[in-house]
């Protein structure tokens, strides 16, 4: 019984995160201005990181934790660089 609840909640979490990623991609494709697209990219990064963590729980492997850690770091650097670009027009001054 509890195994079935666990399995269904993992399926629910994966579906929720995939729908969230689709909504973020929708906002990134039609966002009116550049800052909306940058924020949508940041949201997409966070959602994919959480999706990989749920996938790691589902398969019981630690490699997905490392993948999600790398995704989180790359997302931080990418968003900071893009925000800097929006502010100044160049990344490295």
């Amino acid at each position: 019984m509890s195994q079935m609840i666990l399995s269904w909640s993992m399926m629910f979490a994966q579906v929720c995160l995939v729908v969230a990623m689709a909504l973020a991609a929708l906002r990134m494709s039609r966002g009116p201005r550049a800052q909306d697209r940058v924020l949508a990219l940041d949201t997409l990064y966070v959602n994919s990181m959480l999706l990989l963590m749920v996938f790691g729980i589902r398969t019981g492997k630690v490699i997905y934790f490392e993948a999600s850690l790398v995704i989180g770091m790359l997302g931080f650097v990418a968003t900071v660089a893009l925000a800097k670009f929006l502010m100044r027009g160049e990344v490295i001054e």
Partner: protein
């Protein structure tokens, strides 16, 4: 719907706790992203995805910690690295993005944007000093 093989000897309370935190985390992330799509202006939209970076990440990190700790019968807390990292970096990125947006709106002279800060007294209170 097949059961999960490697979690066959997980006790019931741990399975229920993991399920609870998974549903909480993923549901709050979805709610935050729905708000991000539906809210009208950028300054309102920037608040919504933080639901996913605070309780969404917290819930899923806690579910992963409970799952691997109970399953391997030793303390597994390396997921908390992700929680700390996301908690520290999200305010930094969103603050930078909001200030860049404010700068762009002021340069373009868009309506509904607070004007320049009256005097450059300090760097830290720039975002709050513009509101009248």
């Amino acid at each position: 719907m097949s059961t999960i093989e490697h979690a066959a000897d997980l006790p019931a309370w741990a399975a229920l706790a993991v399920s609870f935190f998974l549903v909480i985390g993923a549901g709050l992330t979805l709610i935050g992203t729905i708000g991000f799509v539906r809210l009208p202006t950028f300054y309102e939209r920037i608040h919504a995805p933080t639901l996913g970076t605070s309780w969404g990440t917290g819930g899923i990190v806690m579910a992963s910690m409970i799952f691997f700790t109970v399953l391997s019968t030793r303390l597994v807390v390396h997921e908390i690295l992700i929680g700390i990292f996301v908690t520290v970096t999200t305010p930094v990125t969103l603050m930078l993005l909001a200030r860049a947006t404010l700068h762009r709106d002021r340069v373009e002279g868009n309506p509904g944007v607070p004007g320049e800060a009256p005097a450059e007294t300090g760097e830290g209170d720039g975002a709050a000093a513009g509101a009248d």
